[in-house]
Symmetry: C2
Subunit: 199 residues, 2 copies
Amino acid sequence: MAEERGYAKGRARRQQILEEAVRLFGEVGYRAASLRELAQRCGLSHPGLLHHVGDKESLLLAVLAHRDAADAAETGLLAAEGADRLDALVEVVRRNASRRAIVELHCVLSAEATAPDHPAHAFFVERYARTVASLASAFPGDADPVSAARRLVALVDGLQVQWLLDPDVDMAAELRRHVAGLRGAGDARLERADGRGRD
Amino acid sequence: MAEERGYAKGRARRQQILEEAVRLFGEVGYRAASLRELAQRCGLSHPGLLHHVGDKESLLLAVLAHRDAADAAETGLLAAEGADRLDALVEVVRRNASRRAIVELHCVLSAEATAPDHPAHAFFVERYARTVASLASAFPGDADPVSAARRLVALVDGLQVQWLLDPDVDMAAELRRHVAGLRGAGDARLERADGRGRD
DNA sequence: CCTACCGATCGGTAGG
DNA sequence: CCTACCGATCGGTAGG
């Protein structure tokens, strides 16, 4: 019982550390982030923090795995509701507009990790390949589904930077217009037959 | 004469410092970049470097101004040749594929500068507003030219991240497909009447 | 342009 | 989980 409470406390502490690390890495990036600053935000000494996370690089990989798991869970929920792939993406982007820390984390770390010697470089190379390949299946009729998916991912990333710099930018609305453009350009001119014209 | 040689040497040194700073800031960002590392790459001591640049923040602003001037000069040249605005953008992106350092600088600094307290924050807020407003005039027939311009800029930014992570990504080709899609969706179906079908 | 130095901060470890 | 410490490195200045 005492041990179980001990383990539960350890898990809660680790959760707190991961969430604060998401914030800090998003604010200043991985390289410029300090373990002392993070420890202070969590209310412990910096050797205390290191006891939980091992070292700085392990913490970074844990944060990325933590975010990946949360994103997969959300995507899974939307898929379970049988939503169209592109509509699900719009919904995720719409929700991200109320989660600045998570958007910052992705923008700052993906840019920082373009450096080949960055500890998260392989992670992001693999993640983009996976995301593009997965989204390509949402364009079955397209002449080049991988290209269409790549441009969609690029658009989302670029909109996030503009939104972080200017919160008046409406990421979801911009993405919706792009998707509408793709559908409008389809062989048959279905145009506003479904969706947006209704609500 | 001796003075003129002295001034010329100073200008050449400053040019060298700015170019090495573009590389270093692109590699690790502004916050994580060290003036000692930069000084070493320029072949001088770090107080020697500070003599030329004042302090670290002034160096950053000088680097941004330096790049802005070079970009404006290139855009001006393309405009003087009477190129279509969108074709000129494709051409700039095509050329950037052989200037990794410059693409890295933009991606890394723009992401880092989304933090409101970053010394380049105001610069990027202003630059995006200016770029989007300027490009909007390339969509005179569009229902929402600012939105079309914003999505175009977002696409270019996002493609740069993917290209930095995987050099096989063809930024110019992806951008061309996007532009072709926009033209194809125009009211009249002009499609391949001009341009791309020829060369 | 240099050497020499300032106070501050870094990631990580020793030892308990 | 802590205090105390390690060697390394930071931006910037003094003084020449």
